[in-house]
Amino acid sequence: MAKLDFDLPKLGPNLEIPVLQPDAMRGVGPYVAKPDHQAPLGFPGELVDDWHDVAIAKMGELLGKYRSFKVYLDSCVKCGACTDKCHYFLGTGDPKNMPVARQDLLRSVYRRHFTLAGKYFPKLVGARDLTKEVLDDWYNYFHQCSQCRRCSVFCPYGIDTAEISMAARDIMDAVGKGQKYCNEIIGKVHKIGNNLGLPEPALLDTLAGLEEDIEEETGVAVRLPVDVHGAEVMLVTPSADFFAEPHIDGLIGYAKVFHQAGISWTLSSYASEAANFGMFIGNYENMRKVSLRIRQAALDLGVKRIVFGECGHAWRVAYSFLNTLAGPFDFLDSRYPVPQHICEVTHDLIQRGALTLDPSVNDDKVVTFHDSCNVARASRMGNLPGGQFEIPRAVIRAAVNHFVDMADETIRDRTFCCGGGGGLLTDDLMELRAKGAMPRMQALQQVVEEHGVTHMAAICAICKSQFSKVLPMYGLPMHMIVSVHQLVGDAIQLGTKD
């Protein structure tokens, strides 16, 4: 592994609150979007001349459109409850990574322009003008928030920094200072249909190759169908599932589940992406446009159900927003929720005895589960609150014999982000990603030492990519990270139900 050009935090026996290190993560932020990346999303190509006035006007517009934004800016009492909850603060010690301090970067400008106290007594209430320096600080530090919502769990008013950072990014896009990584990707989805810009022929080719691999390995012809008209299920999955490790083994797992359950299914080449980066940049119109592709694909293919693959922020948009953004889905089978998570589907099938799983296949593994932040704190599975914790665990337990949870304060709704969510999974933010992963790595290290954990399962494409990258930095094996449906896929006894 290449030597790191920054110091990683040490993994201690306990998670320590770091000493404040002002400006530890000061910098210019991730690469700024070029005009080519901005235009397809409807944003100005570069910083506009009257950016100050445009930014303030945009802030005013968002204050009128989003109750969360307004109430959260007004309600903070600076109690400090959130100050030690952000993984980026814990990993970097930079005080501007404390959720309240991150919010204050924007709140100070809000107060100056939209409150009486800030207009007349700016110093008293910590209000300040939007200068170029402030804008640069926004760009840097609002791209050090993965919108994981951990702070909001602990806030007495439920103030969610994700809402503030989404608004900040929307404002920055409006003045022409967008983030390259997110905006380039959204442009690819608008144009081609997935984050990778993988065109249909390449997709077909990849999947055909995979089908051969599965048949070679198992002797069973498991299909990975694309654009099959009239299939029962349309599966929408993150495009990383088509090529990245360990994602691809999850995709094989979904295919085996559908195969054994005898459910006809298809992928769509038009909507070949579950992720919706429109949420990361806080832009309703782009998020809606991406969502509408899924509706269109479901209509075109005449499917009866929509199922989402393993993807964290995607599941948030799918579960919480899809019906609102692209509904109503009254043309689908009303006996099933729209959309469903693949874990819900697999769980139901296991309950009904429709799958034959042999967990002893995975006896070489001691598995733990990483609750992906947006699944945990911004969505649900099943009918009961908390199903997003229980259902994936139930699926894993059906597929493995040895399962251990990490420390209570690091799982379920108190889970730590992997460090790469919210549009930060880009190489130009590697130092941030590595340091932000520290709290999760610490909890993992603990169960490795105490319980001999060998694998960590996850249901998010970003988590999987991020962990593949950072595990080795912390001296843990890269292949520890697995898809939940890889465990399922390995345990399924194909041929037993045919």
Binding site: G80, A117, G126, F154, P156, F321, L384
Partner: protein, 243 residues
């Protein structure tokens, strides 16, 4: 009628008007601003009554804060409960005859006053000794605590150090309620106590004290988790569909 009495009577009408109008304006503004997406912090209740229960826990027990930080919870909760008791105790100045529960709670109100000042002092101390909290504190964060502490101390001093004519004070406030102005005793300590309260009332709708109405409007806490069952379309978002 002394000039002081007239000044204070006018000031209380003004402050009450600012407080009520200011809060009403905020509440109406919050209520009118759409929440275009379902963003409850999950796990969240799936029914309306579940949300009432969740909100009840938050408002009456500060349950999220309890999970977050036991010290802030202890001092913050002690302060708010004590403040509530102190306010109840003060109802005796505005009711004739005094309501029975208010009468019964009188002695507790005094202890509450002491607890309130102590809890506020601890909250203020945190702003100096915990570096993270010191970092996020603006001058106004200190001043609100100072103001509340001074209100508490001057109130306690009126009880334990320099009594005022409470019967006359009550007559003054009842007079305000019934538009039949009565003189206010001129004790400096009383006037200080009341001046500080006036500042609190006027500043409330323009400050972080808006967390009081704000918590009820927090989408993270007050939304029902049912986005798959129901669309949640804001009017401005619905307009996009009609384009």
């Amino acid at each position: 009628m002394s000039l002081t009495s007239i000044l204070f009577a006018s000031a209380f009408y003004f402050a009450a008007a600012v407080l009520v109008a200011g809060l009403l304006y905020r509440v109406v503004d919050y209520a009118r601003t759409p929440a275009p997406l379902k963003i409850p912090t999950t796990p969240a209740p799936t029914t309306r009554s579940g949300v009432v229960l969740r909100m009840g826990h938050e408002v009456l027990l500060f349950s999220s804060l309890f999970r977050s930080n036991k010290w802030i919870w202890l001092f913050g909760y002690a302060f708010h409960v004590a403040l509530a008791l102190v306010l109840v105790r003060h109802l005796r100045y505005f009711t004739e005859p005094v309501w029975l529960p208010v009468a019964l709670l009188q002695p507790f109100g005094i202890y509450a006053g002491m607890v309130m000042v102590a809890a506020l002092a601890m909250l203020w101390l945190r702003r100096f000794v915990v570096p993270r909290v010191r970092y996020i504190s603006a001058p106004s964060d200190h001043l609100w605590l100072l103001l509340l502490i001074l209100i508490g101390l001057s109130g306690l001093a009126l009880k334990f150090v320099a009594h005022t004519d409470v019967v006359a004070v009550k007559a003054f406030f009842l007079g305000l309620l019934y538009f039949d102005w009565q003189p206010l005793p001129g004790d400096p300590l009383l006037l200080l106590h009341l001046t500080l309260v006036l500042l609190l009332m006027i500043g409330f709708p323009f400050s972080k004290l808006l967390h009081a109405p704000g918590v009820f409007f927090s989408p993270g806490r007050n939304q029902v988790d049912n986005p798959r069952e129901r669309r949640h379309l804001a009017p401005w978002a619905a307009d996009l569909e009609n384009r």
